[in-house]
């Protein structure tokens, strides 16, 4: 597949939801029928296999591929329910210096022949692991939360991406863990304000929800549950990646209702 699209999900700051976004975005694209490969580039601190519930199925890792012991296709693991969602896991006993930028480019070039979408889960920080992750990527997705610490780090990462030759069109932003009611009460910056400050395109907004923790506990991307309302923003993001202009307001529709009606809706919507 020569028209394979390669994304890197990055942030600078740790704990903002890069792995959750990678898993759910990959699952959405797989649900739409595309062949997807997720690469965990967080070498030494792997998490993506846990979020996907594949930790017991991983036999070979990215290190086996880089060392030439295994072909990339032999090392990838298929998801339990979505057979077109695949994972190239990271190694917990290796370190980032065991992989180079050229290794990542070679690896992605090989995988590009077999998958429509390749999504790289970048480690936190701006060191070796970050540089390795962005090297083969065509598009960068910056994940931030509406906190100044995360926004500041996102800005730094955008600057580094620009220095590496990423044009404005190749960088987009996901605001994760938004609390719409806090925005309404003037206690939190809005996605629009973050977008304007960082001067990048807004790809989506994911409201804060306990459902994320529940889905990680179960090892199932939450988008696999159609009734889960948090699947809507991820599905919208997948549609925007495919070129369908879904309004950003639809990502948080239904997440900001206060009062008795909101309470009842929340009760009915909860699983």
């Amino acid at each position: 597949m020569n028209d394979s699209k390669v994304f890197v999900v990055t942030s600078g700051k740790g704990g903002v939801g890069k792995t959750t976004v990678t898993a759910n975005l990959g699952a959405c694209l797989a649900l739409l029928g595309y062949n997807v490969c997720l690469i965990d580039a967080d070498i030494g601190l792997k998490n993506l296999d846990l979020v996907l519930g594949l930790e017991n199925r991983v036999v070979y890792t990215i290190i086996d591929v880089v060392r030439g012991n295994k072909d990339p296709l032999e090392a990838v693991v298929k998801h339990k329910f979505l057979k077109n969602l695949n994972l190239l896991a990271s190694s917990q006993i290796a370190n980032k210096d065991m992989v180079s930028e050229q290794d990542m480019i070679n690896l992605v070039n090989e995988l590009s022949k077999h998958y429509h979408y390749i999504i790289i889960d970048c480690p936190a920080g701006i060191e070796r692991g970050f540089k390795n992750s962005i090297a083969p990527a065509q598009q960068a997705i910056i994940v931030t939360t509406p906190e100044l610490t995360a926004i500041s780090d996102a800005d730094r990462v955008i600057g580094m991406l620009e220095n590496q030759g990423f044009s404005e069109q190749r960088v987009s932003l996901i605001v994760n863990r938004l609390k719409p009611r806090m925005v309404q009460r003037d206690k939190m910056v809005s996605p629009e304000e973050i977008k304007n400050a960082l001067a990048v395109e807004l790809l989506g907004v994911v409201p804060d929800s306990e459902e994320i923790i529940v889905s990680t506990n179960e090892g199932n991307p939450l988008v696999l549950d159609e009734r889960n309302r948090l699947s809507i923003p991820f599905k919208n993001i997948a549609q925007r990646i495919l070129g369908n202009p879904i309004p950003i307001s639809e990502d948080i529709a239904g997440f900001s209702e206060d009062g008795f009606l909101g309470f009842i809706k929340k009760l009915l919507g909860r699983r």
Partner: protein, 87 residues
Amino acid sequence: MAWWSPAKKDSNRDIAVKRMNDIVANRREACATAIKFENKSEEEIESIVTYIKDYACRNLSVNEKDVKVHISKDGNIVTIIASIAYK
């Protein structure tokens, strides 16, 4: 602000937005440029560093402390990164 002040206090969000824009603006103002040279002597590199600092001070109206020049060597390739913070 004293408790009896009639001035309206900024909302928490207004403060956050102001700080966010300050953080981003400061960072965007720092302009970094990277140029690579090969097979240069120590004296030549030092003169380039001095030239960059002098040029920035004279033409960009910045203090010398706001001009940071970082040198790294990899074999016979020398990379000089000049970071100039100006307002």
